[in-house]
């Protein structure tokens, strides 16, 4: 059985938040920084491979170490990008968990991992994925607000 009011309310939240998050994330896109760092990593990688082929072990170790440092910078940028894309979703999930903890779907049987129903939190996750896949993704090439680095 489905709780229609809860389903609509939670889906509406996902419908509003998902495009908003994509717009903000696209504006704050880290793609250029990531590309620069990846190019640097590839460069160090190629150079260390050359050093290894030339039998210069110290040079190989030095270049690998430097590549490692750039890789750590890359991970920080990656994290920055991810936290922008997901923080607002987690916040909305938190609000739903605390202030609207209802069952949207009630199963007549016990389902492994879900129990006897699908909660509003689970429903939000499914709705957000569907909104992204069915609405945001097809609109990406047409709407500049969904494209990285829009001004």
């Amino acid at each position: 059985m489905i709780n229609i009011q809860a389903a609509l309310l939670v889906s509406l939240a996902a419908f509003i938040v998902t495009p908003l998050v994509v717009t903000v994330a696209a504006r704050l896109s880290q793609q250029q920084t990531k590309d620069k760092l990846m190019a640097k990593i590839k460069e160090y990688s190629e150079l260390s491979s050359d050093a290894s082929n030339a039998g210069v072990r110290n040079m190989y170790a030095a270049l690998q170490k430097q590549g490692n440092e750039v890789l750590m910078q890359y991970y920080v940028v990656l994290y920055r990008e991810a936290v922008v894309e997901l923080a607002l979703h987690v916040l909305v999930l938190g609000i739903i968990q605390n202030y609207y903890p209802v069952h949207v779907l009630n199963f007549s049987i016990q389902v492994w991992g879900l129990g006897d129903g699908l909660s509003s939190v689970g429903w939000y996750i499914i709705s957000a994925i569907l909104v992204f896949q069915l609405l945001v993704k097809p609109l990406k090439p047409k709407l500049r607000f969904f494209r990285p680095g829009w001004v």
Binding site: M38, S48, M59, L63, Y79
Partner: protein, 326 residues
């Protein structure tokens, strides 16, 4: 359970964590942990709430400990969640190697959460990790480290220039389209080409390494990236561009299995608390690089190392043992 503190304070703490992590590039998880246990006393509030709901104290402590780990893992899984699908699309995950390690990781991430550890022991070991990172950060502020780094950069620059003179470039993009190709696979050996380079690994060694890394990481509620990166680059001598995609994919598997395992053990993550902190982290991580030019990063690193050394000793119970009431 009610929110442990005023949301503004949680947001502010998140901003500090994001600021420090984006500037120094380390200690994000540790500062999140300090925020939970020292600043907001999340574990104590949760134990109190659970005991008031009629749950036995020992059980409440276990739930609080597991919840802290899930909060940490939730912060860890963020970036793999976004980047892994992209990495697969860009063919930057060495899938055969990732699969071999994943076999061990899944087992390890199931065993790790099952290893008995009290909240006190968990805090102690977290203190050890905090203390070690504090020492490392302190070392990075010294003249010895700075000089070594400068020397490293100048030597590799000279080498780079020499290689550029000798080498013709331009093959990379063509090779990227190929992705990986398995050329030989049996229990004792896996050979594959990745971006045109041939790699040969031992699948059993890969799985065993993944197993132990996952046990340690999942026990402490960590992603395991800090162990995987040296493992992949040193043991299998993989190039860095390959390490990035592959390690993130493995961290994702480890975190996912560990979170599921802790949730089944009764962890009750507070998504509102985590959500507010993440919004703060997002804000802080953008303020960091903008303001970095106004001061020397060395001083922030030094300050952070002192904080970590102090809290590392506190979590290990050193101050309490010395009778210092901090």
């Amino acid at each position: 359970m009610e929110l442990v503190s005023n949301p503004v304070f949680i947001l502010l703490w998140g901003i500090i964590v994001g600021y420090v992590f984006s500037t120094v590039g380390a200690a994000g998880a540790i500062l999140t942990f300090i925020g939970q246990t020292v600043v907001f006393k999340f574990d104590k509030a949760m134990i109190k709430h659970l005991v008031n709901s009629g749950i036995a104290e020992a059980q409440a402590k276990t739930t609080a400990k597991n919840t802290l780990k899930v909060h940490n893992l939730m912060a860890v899984i963020l970036s793999p969640l976004i980047s892994v699908p992209r990495y697969f699309k860009e063919k930057r995950v060495a899938i055969p190697l990732a699969l071999c390690i994943a076999v061990g990781v899944v087992l390890g991430a199931l065993i790790g959460p099952a290893i008995p550890m009290t909240l006190k022991q968990y805090k102690f070991w977290f203190g050890v990790v905090t203390f070690i990172i504090g020492i490392r950060l302190f070392y990075e502020t010294t003249e010895t480290y700075r000089k070594g780094r400068q020397k490293l950069q100048s030597i590799s620059k000279k080498f780079e220039e020499k290689v550029k003179e000798l080498k013709k470039s331009g093959k990379w993009e063509e090779l990227a389209a190929e992705g990986f190709k398995v050329t030989n696979f049996n229990v004792g050996s896996l050979k594959f080409t990745f971006w045109g380079e041939e790699f040969s690994i031992n699948p059993i060694l890969a799985a065993v390494g993944g197993f132990f890394i996952a046990i340690i990481a999942s026990m402490f509620g960590l992603g395991g990236g800090f162990m995987l990166v040296p493992y992949l680059s040193s043991v299998f001598v993989l190039p860095m561009f390959m390490v990035s995609g592959t390690s993130v994919a493995i961290v994702f598997i480890n975190s996912l299995v560990a979170i599921t395992s802790y949730l089944q053990k009764g962890a009750q993550p507070d998504l509102l608390f985590v959500g507010i902190m993440l919004v703060g982290i997002a804000i802080g991580s953008f303020i960091g690089p903008v303001t970095q030019k106004y001061y020397k990063e060395k001083y922030l690193r030094l300050f952070l190392s002192i904080i970590l050394l102090f809290y590392g000793l506190r979590f290990m119970g050193v101050w309490a043992a010395l009778g210092i009431p901090i």
